[in-house]
Amino acid sequence: MSVAWQQQKEQGTHRSLRFMVWIAQSLGRTPARTFLYPICFYFLIGFGCARQAIRRFRERALNHPVGWLELFRHYHAFASTILDRVYFLTGRFDLFEVEFHGREVLQQELAKGRGCILLGAHVGSFEVVRSLGRSQGNLDVRVVMDEQNAHRIRDITKELNPVVAETVIQVGGVETMLQVKECLDQGGVIGVMGDRVTQDDQTVGCTFLGQEARFPTGPMRLANVARAPVVLFFGLYRGGNRYEVHLESFCDQVQLSPGQREADLRQCVQRYAERLEAVCRQAPDNWFNFYEFWGE
């Protein structure tokens, strides 16, 4: 089931997260990275379900048998982005080489004087979006997050950068999307993830890497109701200290015609799933959904 990640979440991660934050800040990035090897080894060996899920994902994306070394590389990419969150949150952009693709897409949207939805996925690093804010002056990015299921991440974010932590919009309240709309009306950018399904989400089945998977319809429904343009965002980790930020125009308005609302919604989410699929094939190490994405 696709909510499986909630059950296997955060197993043993609390202590390792704290440890990594401490190492990252006291030793610096290069020495801290040596610690990623034992940590990855521990998670790779210790959690069979997650390992199987990643193996199956890679087999689907790449069409070849997946060995241990390849799995280790996948885990290492994930651990690297977690470590780098510490630096992105504390403004150490000088440590990284970030290559931007399609930056003008966002500039064009914002020049129209209205906000937009930045639709991402649990692929690579969303936090690298902060480097975008830095290069574009006062870019107001607020990320919609299910903090109840990631409260340890929230606590650490709060310690590292209270200002960023303050901008996170917590899902679950009846007024959440009202707050999102108010932010959009002020020309703000709203970051949402379109890949993970949580318990109460409305979903639709889409073909993804050759098999049907459930995707939440929330982001497209939001774009439709708020009449906000959608820009795709992928912050890919490319090894070493390199990141690639990809911004793509997705649509100016999500139109759902009254008679075929469901079909329109499905078509729209399917188009997103296809873009996500292309990104997954291009940078498979960046897939960070460590659970059985297609259900059991």
């Binding site: 009846v174 007024e175 999307m177 109701v225």
Partner: protein
């Protein structure tokens, strides 16, 4: 079921039409929860409803309103807030 007052009937109608619900406006119990377990509406529905209320009654709901959760808690609470704050 508790009976709907005239304004509640009106708001129930707006709710059903805006959210294209497959239930009749008359069967919405004014004291039952609208969101979550009640009618099964979510936060995006709440936004859509808020925009329709603003258009119809000139009352703009704000996320920062300390009573926002109460206002959205039932048809009755919503209708009361509209009565109190409407500008058209």
């Amino acid at each position: 079921m508790t009976a709907q007052s005239p304004i509640e009937q009106e708001v129930a109608q707006l709710l059903v039409e805006t959210l294209k619900l497959k239930v009749s406006a008359a069967i919405i119990d004014p004291v039952q929860p609208l969101f979550g377990d009640g009618l099964g509406l979510d936060s995006i529905d709440a936004l859509e409803l808020a925009l329709a209320i603003s258009k119809t009654y000139g009352y703009q709901l704000k996320s920062s309103d300390p009573d926002i959760k109460v206002i959205f808690s039932s048809l009755r609470a919503l209708a009361e807030a509209i009565e109190k704050n409407r500008t058209k």
